[in-house]
């Protein structure tokens, strides 16, 4: 999958906070989210590092794969001692791409058989999470 580039934006933190309804400054970097994340080992920035980067308006977080690997399983959300919904922050970051129609997944290359073998909920969910 070719990752499409998104033009840098000003006020990254504010934009993601508004889209997600979350306050990234509530995070005190305890690392609970990363220790319980089932997909953290696949991420090039750990979940807590994603929040840290957002706190500093650090654009590298937008080029990391974390937001695309996150499956919104909410293991972090139920465990965060500060009540931050990190999955919502990931959704906010994805929305910055998707609202510019920079899709991250396409089923064009899949055969009819491959598509038919997948439960509908997989296809619809993937397209909802990764296309605009």
């Amino acid at each position: 999958m070719v990752r499409k580039r998104l033009e840098r934006m000003e006020n990254l933190r504010e934009k993601v906070e508004e889209l997600s309804g979350q306050n990234v400054y509530a995070c005190y970097q305890c690392g609970m989210c990363s220790s319980g994340c089932p997909l953290a080992e696949e991420m090039d920035l750990l979940p807590n590092q994603v929040i840290r980067a957002l706190q500093f308006d650090d654009w590298t977080v937008m080029e990391a794969n974390a937001m695309w690997v996150c499956a919104s399983c909410l293991a972090c959300e139920v465990r965060c001692p500060k009540g931050i919904d990190l999955a919502a922050l990931m959704e906010g970051m994805r929305q910055l791409y998707l609202r510019k129609t920079l899709d991250h997944v396409s089923i064009d290359g899949m055969s009819r058989e491959e598509i038919a073998a997948l439960p509908q909920i997989a296809l619809v969910a993937s397209l909802r999470k990764k296309t605009g």
Partner: protein
């Protein structure tokens, strides 16, 4: 109405037909048949987590309108993903009048949604409406000696406000398994994500995650895994097919209930039909 308004969802009509067949058979046997919503549509499968995004919640609200049109106070889903999406949308639009008004105005050809429909999962109905005692009484083929791992995954228990049980230590499926005479085996990955919809473009990652879940259940000596999610079921089966070796069947909880009730609901794996205990029952011949 005799019965309960029921939202099947897309997967139960296609890749997860066994789930629907067994759910209907079991509820019929318990005297609370599932009555399918008329003109239901896909719930959207995931609740949009973007704060301003009402557009992606419309599909689920339409299903709540369909329920309201039937004159029913609640709707039940068996698919955990549908349940979660419908539930979260209902929590939002039942409480947030401004969002509801906006969505009603947008769907100007629909009846207005009044904000009162409750969304339930089928396991909640079994636990809270029917009760384990009545479930137990209906059992004709007790699953004695069968070790079953209850796999909850994500959407049944998270987030806390939408979950049907404790997000870290759920017990609802354990209690169901025991009501059927089987043995529930606890295992550490019971509420870990299988990788979900990432199977579409990150199959590698999902196979690896799902394999961990299956191995965890196998180490606990489970003979069967039960789930309430067609996507979990798919992913856990795929991981076993792809990696080979010894496999354990992944069933919907309703299939296990159907087996214990002795009601016809499609094929069951040998782990259940060819159990020594099951053979013993046949042997007694009655």
């Amino acid at each position: 109405m005799k019965g309960i308004a029921y939202f099947p969802g897309c997967s139960l009509k296609d890749t997860a037909k066994d789930f629907e067949t067994s759910a209907r058979a079991v509820m019929e046997a318990l005297g609370l048949p599932l009555v399918e919503l008329e003109r239901w549509n896909c719930c959207g499968t995931v609740y949009s987590l973007a704060a301003d995004d009402l557009m992606h919640q419309l599909a689920s609200m339409r299903d709540l309108i369909r329920t309201q049109e039937m004159g029913e106070p609640e709707v039940v889903a068996a698919c955990a993903m549908c349940y979660n999406t419908l539930k979260r949308v209902s929590l939002r639009v039942n409480a947030d009048v401004e969002a509801r008004d906006k969505m009603n105005a947008f769907m100007n050809k629909e009846t207005d949604y009044e904000g009162s429909i409750e969304v339930r999962h089928l396991l909640e109905i079994l636990r809270d409406r029917i009760g384990w005692e009545r479930v137990s009484e209906r059992v004709t083929q007790p699953l004695d000696g069968l070790a079953v791992a209850p796999y909850y995954g994500c959407t049944l228990v998270r987030p806390r406000e939408a979950g049907i049980d404790d997000p870290d230590a759920p017990t609802v499926m354990r209690d169901l398994i025991e009501a059927l005479g089987a043995t529930a085996v606890p295992f550490p990955f019971a509420t870990e994500c299988c990788g979900s919809y990432q199977v579409v473009d990150r199959r590698d990652l999902v196979i690896e995650r799902s394999d961990r879940v299956v191995r965890s259940a196998r180490r606990a000596h489970a003979q069967v895994i039960v789930t309430s999610c067609p996507l979990c079921q798919h992913n856990l089966e795929q991981a076993q097919q792809e990696l080979g070796g010894e496999t354990i069947p992944v069933l919907y909880f309703t299939q296990l209930v159907a087996a214990a009730f002795g009601v016809e609901a499609g094929e069951l794996p040998a782990a259940i039909t060819a159990r020594p205990a099951a053979a013993g029952e046949t042997g007694r011949g009655n």
